[in-house]
């Protein structure tokens, strides 16, 4: 088996292959099976096995039908002696079943006699586009928006449909199409003039089981409604939102709801009017409730005007301090959307203590697919590895985050990494991150290795050498990046605004609450019970673990502790020597990736081989720059040379 001739990066993981199959099939579908499921099944099987797979007089059949005993979005696949049955709990379930079948066949794991059942872990699997109305994408590294241009919706329906297919194939069922930092022109998506175009978009996504959401501007009643205030306790404001919501649902009956970034990073919000987060969220929630909608209310709120001289304020504490006391005050259809870590999508963070802390409030986990702090889709970074750690991060003595998914946390959302580049994601291997997010949102018990294996096989085929080497590169990629980045969870040693490339003191004296406070003998902020008290926001079991240098996970040591460079790690190395060593190793890892990649030249599609190689070479430059800047920074501070005598610049 190998790559078919029609490989195009644009197909992402829905690539053609020239697999063989023992015998042909007929396609049987019951009337309630949606057209799109039937079409995807027909085209998908042909993609894998060629058009000969279908023969009208074939003995075996692929049968699609609805089985209302199954969970609505769930499916069952049966490979029996008469053929393959795909049962879905609903029209969407059937579609997921078809994609599930194609995936299983595509990776060669669906032999005769197999029965496979699956249903999503959470009700809402959400993509957040950070697309701006002007057509650029905030933190986007794959070209411009596929949705917007020149301050309005302006899209190619075919491209949107192809995106919908990709998202449906990995189980995504909600998409918020505009950036959470809502500008005035983006706010205007709610106007009567703009809604028909939004509804067109919803019409494209609907057959793929995907509902639209909109990021909304907290000040919309003022900006659009001509009111004097956006105070959520003002009846006219609530009335305005109620009327506006009704208008939206008339155009888009299955509208998912509003996504709101309020009181954060210079956005307006209830706090600016002396109201609580619950006041703000509940007003919107009451507007969408009659229509079955929800409010995704982001918890990324902190003081972004902190004085670096202020050592009492500790940014990671902010969200918990603000929201925890309001637990129980939110309407039932408010979903508090919490980033995985308490900082901001850094390479290494603990999980947010707010995740699971709200006992009477729904929560969404927010991940980031776009590589803001993780290499801008130039450096290779397989996020599945990090996300597996996020899901495996303990909440208390008995539970890890994974155990809350589908329970306290009923929504998983992520920031898209997609733009109008031909290959969607800039770095072709970054397609794996979009894929992994969908798969993990569906089933958080999947391992990074399983998902990576799936993605490689679906994309590049099942040739063992390709699978083995690509798996090696991709499974190692996060570790390599972390090695040459800021050490041991300290984070933020990055060029300001851009968030790409090293700048050890870049954020050190700024107002964002991001300080490492490195001096000639020590580095870090004491966030333990004896320090800022951040660790006390966790379950006491974890507080104790994080409070102690000995029991704190070593990769998070500098997130929680202030330590001298002479502190000895479990490896027997000093903290400083560990920094030096990992930074040299990180570069060596990238060199190894390049060498491995080179050996796959004959086995990979030419365009992809070349474009990824170019990126790997640029990554090597980046890794060297990180290594040298970080090592030099610490060498200048400490005056301590590398034990192994390697080159550290003065």
């Amino acid at each position: 088996m190998g790559i078919g001739q029609e490989y195009r990066e644009y197909n992402a993981w829905l690539q053609p292959h020239s697999y063989r199959f023992k015998e042909p099939f007929r396609l049987n579908t019951s009337p309630e099976v949606p057209m799109v499921a039937r079409d995807e099944c027909k085209a998908g099987m042909e993609r894998l096995f060629g058009s000969g797979i279908w023969q009208e007089d074939a003995k075996k059949s692929v049968t699609l039908h609805i089985n209302s005993q199954l969970p609505a979005e769930g499916y069952r696949l049966t490979n029996g002696s008469n053929g393959i049955a795909v049962e879905g709990g609903s029209q969407n379930g059937i579609l997921y079943g078809v994609f599930g079948l194609l995936r299983a066949l595509g990776i060669g794991q669906f032999d005769e006699g197999t029965v496979a059942e699956s249903a999503p872990a959470v009700e809402r699997r959400v993509i957040n586009q950070w697309d701006r109305a002007d057509g650029t994408v905030e933190r986007g590294y794959a070209g411009n928006s596929i949705f917007f241009k020149d301050d309005r919706l302006d899209f190619n329906p075919e491209r949107i449909r192809d995106y919908a297919r990709l998202l449906a194939s990995i189980g995504i069922n909600v998409i918020a199409i505009n950036n959470v930092n809502v500008t005035e022109s983006s706010a205007r998506l709610l106007t009567a003039e703009a809604l028909p175009k939004v509804a067109e978009l919803a019409d494209i996504f609907r057959p793929y089981g995907i509902r639209l959401a909109l990021s909304v501007h907290f000040e919309s009643p003022v900006l659009l409604g001509g009111l004097q205030t956006s105070d959520p306790l003002d009846k006219r404001v609530a009335a305005w939102w109620n009327a506006k919501t009704q208008e939206i649902y008339q155009a888009i009956p299955d509208f998912s709801g509003y996504l709101m970034k309020a009181d954060s990073e210079f956005r307006g919000g209830p706090a600016s009017l002396g109201r609580t987060q619950a006041d703000g969220a509940n007003m919107l929630a009451r507007a969408v409730a009659p229509f079955g909608g929800v409010v995704y209310w982001r918890c990324f709120i902190y003081n972004c005007m902190q004085d670096w001289r202020d050592t009492d304020t500790d940014r990671p504490k902010a969200a918990y301090d603000l929201f925890k006391p309001q637990d129980g005050l939110f309407e039932k259809n408010v979903i508090l959307q919490v980033k995985n870590g308490p900082s901001d999508f850094q390479v290494r963070e603990p999980n947010s203590p707010l995740l699971g802390a709200m006992k009477h409030t729904r929560e969404a986990l927010e991940l980031q697919i776009t590589q803001e702090y993780t290499g801008h889709q130039i450096d290779l970074y397989n996020l599945a590895v990090q996300w597996e750690e996020v899901f495996s991060f303990p909440v208390n003595r008995n539970q890890v985050l994974r155990d809350l998914i589908g329970n306290e946390i009923d929504t998983v959302a992520a920031v898209s990494n997609v733009g109008d580049d031909e290959n969607w994601t800039g770095h072709t291997l970054a397609q794996a991150n979009l894929y992994s997010f969908g798969r993990l949102a569906w089933n958080p018990r999947l391992t990074a290795r399983e998902i990576t294996d799936e993605w490689i096989k679906l994309t590049f085929g099942t040739e063992p050498e390709v699978v083995e080497k690509l798996t090696d590169i991709m499974m190692s990629s996060r570790g390599a990046y972390e090695k040459y980045n800021a050490p041991l969870g300290i984070g933020w040693m990055v060029n300001i605004n851009l968030h790409y490339g090293p700048s050890p003191d870049g954020y050190e004296f700024m107002k964002w609450g991001t300080y490492h406070r490195a001096n000639r003998v020590a580095i870090g902020v004491d966030r333990t019970s004896r320090g800022t008290g951040f660790t006390k926001q966790y379950d006491p079991y974890l507080t104790e673990i994080f409070d102690s240098r000995e029991t704190c996970p070593e990769e998070l040591l500098l997130y929680f502790h202030r330590l001298p460079y002479t502190y000895v790690l479990k490896s027997g190395k000093t903290l400083l020597q560990h920094i030096y060593d990992t930074h040299f190793e990180g570069v060596q890892e990238v060199e190894r990736f390049i060498a491995l990649w080179e050996t796959l030249k004959a086995k990979l599609p030419g365009t992809t081989f070349v474009s990824v190689k170019q990126r790997l070479l640029k990554q090597l430059e980046n890794a060297e720059e990180w290594r040298d800047v970080i090592n030099t920074f610490f060498y200048r501070l400490t005056g301590t040379t590398d034990e192994k005598g390697r080159k550290i610049y003065e």
Copy 2:
């Protein structure tokens, strides 16, 4: 005497006063005296003394006439028993004479019996607007452009005329209206469609003796002419420039010439085509020569993609290394425009060794009025003090820069600080910087104190308390800023891109060639003969002075030397203690300015008192931020506490 009722910040230093005069005058002008000189004389006298100053039957007269024995732009003022005579060497000379008279009367220094003669030190006194076609101003801190909007010239002729008056009153005679970083839309000023509007502008400036210049795009032949190349040695390229130049002079017969930033900071230029700077400049020079035009060719060229690990390259050396070998190769109407310092308008730099080094090539000194690195017209910074030092900086054993002005250096140019703010310059006291530039370009032998005294009296009147306190504040302002900024000439410890606020390592690992290389024991780059050899670009007399720690001017110690923090200065203090002390002192100076300012409340116009006070309070915050960041940076590196036990943050 005091401030008249019609004080408006908009009037800048052409303010009304209610001075008294012994007797009235008649106004006598000969026919060749231009209308504008007559009008300015009439209005100006009324501004100072009230409309009663003119009486048709007055015994004494003010007489304006041309005396061709005087230098063309020069003038002679005589206050005799029959009245006042203003003689000018030309129409422009008369106008300068009128403004000279008004200045002398305005500051109370033109008693009966006085004869005063004056002529400009250099032929060209040039303002460079860094105005972008889109209406913003690069490094502008006083609002938007008064020339451009929405990618085209779009101006209020009245405002332009008022600007022309202000510039003429201080002797400016050339203005380049668009930013040296020429965009495609700014390049289009040369097109037939745009030229009529440029000519309109020239028509407004012409009566005030000011000629227009344009910054041009090196790639204009490609962008506008549809050619395949801009190679200066290509005949079609030269022909295109010749034809275009002819077209310009048809519209603007007194067009001053082209201003060019080539091969610098990502601009195209001859080097990118394998040609020399002389090749590029001479082609343009030959185009404008038949019309008496010149080419202002900027020398701000260096490697802006340097690797910080590269310690051989030393940015300050770049301009001399590039241009010195080409001395003698330039056409006679090429003027090489050299920034005062070899870095980039830092608070403290030595003079550029290129100034005066070209024995067979004309040079322009380029200063910066807009406060890019000097506080963004928030912090008070009287540039006259710095410029006096620039003019007094030695060139060799016998000469200082001032001695070259009007000789080797026949042009003085500066970047404007003006925008469409009501008061032109954001900070009202920053008007003094525009004023000082014009005065110094006319007469570099004026001292900062003399000019500051003039400006204060013309603007706020001659009340001794006002003059004394304002002089104190303004004469101290540069020193105060320097004290809380980067120490001893090291420069660059500033937020990247913005160039406002402290960031000690902000430029340390970037590609701009700006490194202090501070570690726990020492700071600085050795630029002596034993180091990068930069000092060898100076006259041997200066090489020897700069090479030695003992003889190097102490304020430039860290520009030229790498020194341990324990190095003992002439004061007996260590380098580190000097840093701490100056940073505490800088803040105290600003506190003193505020206290002094407060005492002037009743004696200054209310709007100005309030707006300047607001800025002083913001400056205090800035100074504290600088003090704390810089002190903390060095404290973290050295671990050495302040001898006086003052607060330095950890």
